[in-house]
């Protein structure tokens, strides 16, 4: 429970958490950096071109070059903009993108000098609700940025983005309720541990096998929440010039663009945690492996497995972006309200009935 954690302030505990937070944030940023690179490379492959290949071997230094370019560009704050909010917008976008990483279990515990350290920053028992809370706050970065730019296109894009995110939040929540009916817990760590109990070293326990429809709805909603194609209406460049960040320049624009990739990374982590067993290694029983090769090595392997799952979803994000064209606004609303929500409700009802029948 949070209060107990807050009250008993132990120096080592604080240091551990601080180190973990630092590690997770820098890791997320580096992964997000190289996702931009992967995006350009994969786009190049799909469109039969080479993609970036000038900076370093295979263009591997390209993200660094991009970042430096953004930092050194001239910073322009429009005269008619609302200055305080104009600066607050990208900061909020980045903050809400990073906040979710606190409740994700990145691996099982490790042992350092006799102390057991959990690889999760905050093991709160309402983990999923926390994720939803942060997602619902994600709108503000877009809205504040779009409004304070004092530009009609930016405002239109911001309003579009906000209504899209609010609409898809509903279907997202509903699809997850059927999953929660099965797990009976809102704690992300216990959801992972339940999945690890399944046969074949955990593979048969993965929630995707029991809730495929919920997974599909959740995945679609995640695409919409991240403003990725086919749901990238807030930055539809051929309709809105550039979207909600049109007036931004230099690293403020960089933060907006970058927060999208951080969002993708974190959402992939959430999807893997909920439906694909998190840090569970398929076909391997972790407890017997731990007695053979030690806890730390198993935690590392678990983390690598988790990262492989995340990398697959990141690839899916990119794959879809370069394959499917953008929705029209009315199609977007139609899909969200008239298709996904009834489908999620039906799934919820069926799950509830099945659980009730099996328990009796």
């Amino acid at each position: 429970m949070i209060p107990i954690h807050l009250l008993v302030i132990n120096v080592w505990f604080g240091l551990e958490k601080l180190l973990l937070i630092g590690a997770i944030i820098s890791f997320s940023l580096v992964v997000a950096m190289y996702t931009t690179f992967a995006e350009r490379k994969i786009a190049g492959f799909m469109q039969d071109r080479r993609g970036p290949n000038r900076a370093g071997p295979f263009g591997i230094l390209q993200p660094l070059a991009d970042g430096l370019k953004l930092f050194f560009k001239e910073e322009i704050i429009p005269l008619t903009s609302n200055k305080g909010l104009f600066v607050l917008g990208p900061a909020l976008a980045m903050l809400t993108a990073m906040l979710t990483s606190a409740v994700i279990p990145w691996g099982n515990q490790i042992e350092i000098a006799g102390r057991t350290v959990s690889l999760q920053v905050a093991d709160v028992n309402i983990g999923i609700l926390y994720v939803f809370g942060v997602v619902s706050l994600g709108v503000y970065g877009i809205m504040i940025g779009g409004w304070s730019s004092n530009n009609k296109f930016s405002l239109l894009a911001a309003v579009r983005g906000a209504s899209q995110i609010i609409s898809y939040e509903l279907a997202m929540g509903l699809s997850l309720i059927s999953l929660l009916l099965m797990t009976g817990s809102l704690n992300l760590k216990s959801i992972v541990e339940q999945q690890m109990q399944g046969g074949w070293g955990g593979l048969l326990g993965w929630n995707i096998l029991y809730q495929p429809l919920a997974f599909l709805i959740f995945l679609i909603c995640v695409f919409a929440e991240c403003n990725r194609t086919p749901f990238d209406l807030p930055e539809a460049e051929n309709e809105l010039n550039f979207g909600y960040h049109q007036e931004y320049s230099s690293m403020k624009l960089g933060l907006y663009l970058f927060s999208e990739y951080v969002n993708m990374f974190i959402s992939s982590a959430v999807v893997s945690t909920l439906f694909f067993g998190g840090y569970d290694i398929p076909f391997v029983d972790e407890t017997t492996l731990a007695s053979n090769i030690g806890v730390n090595l198993v935690a590392l392997l678990g983390f690598l497995t988790f990262f492989a799952k995340i990398a697959f979803f990141l690839f899916l994000f990119i794959w879809v972006r370069w394959t499917i064209p953008r929705f029209r606004y009315d199609q977007l609303m139609d899909l969200g309200w008239k298709k996904l929500i009834p489908l999620a409700l039906a799934n919820l009802l069926i799950t509830a009935v099945v659980i009730l029948a099996l328990n009796k």
Binding site: M1, P3, L7, N82, N125, G133, L137, A158, A162
Partner: protein, 173 residues
């Protein structure tokens, strides 16, 4: 001073300060944003009272959904401080009277109350406990309020549809 007290005083002063800023900001968008800060501070109080579920739902529903809709309306109306029409004297008087009576009621109810010693039992604000209480002790009020929400939703849809119908008939005439 124990750490809970420090947190309490920080959160309380933040809440009061932000609430004052809601009233004193000239720009309605700033007011909405300050109101969100107030909700955050109140969520912090809920956590201190060991009611994590309430804290996070307060954030999702109020800060995440309702305030976004407020922001929506205000942004689209593009209200500015200089466009605001001057209110008449009577309006201002009515505002003072109604606000004053609300204040009176609040003071009257809170004056004789002793502080609630809540949140000491482990698990009182947790979701299992809350669900059990809601669906056993308070099931009738719970269901009635959900019907109320449903009727409000249906009402909103009907209002929206009706307006469309009027426009269509006007065009056909």
């Amino acid at each position: 001073m124990p750490i809970t007290e420090i947190i309490f005083w920080t959160l309380s002063s933040a809440a009061i300060l932000a609430a004052l800023m809601v009233i004193f900001s000239k720009n309605p968008v700033h007011s909405v944003l300050w109101l969100i800060v107030v909700f955050f501070a109140i969520s912090g109080h809920y956590v201190l009272l060991n009611a994590q579920f309430l804290a996070i739902v307060n954030m999702i529903v109020y800060a995440g959904a309702i305030m976004v809709l407020f922001l929506f309306v205000i942004m689209l109306m593009n209200m500015n401080a200089d466009q605001e029409p001057n209110k008449s004297k009577w309006m201002k008087m009515a505002g003072v009277v109604s606000g004053g009576s609300l204040m009176l009621i609040l003071v009257a109810t809170l004056k004789n109350n002793t502080a609630v010693a809540g949140g000491q039992e482990a698990g009182i604000g947790l979701i299992q406990q809350l669900g059990r209480t809601l669906f056993s002790e308070y099931v009738v009020p719970f269901e009635i309020s959900s019907v109320l929400f449903l009727s409000a939703m249906v009402g909103a849809i009907i209002l929206g549809k009706k307006e469309k119908g009027i426009i269509e008939t006007n065009v056909s005439k």
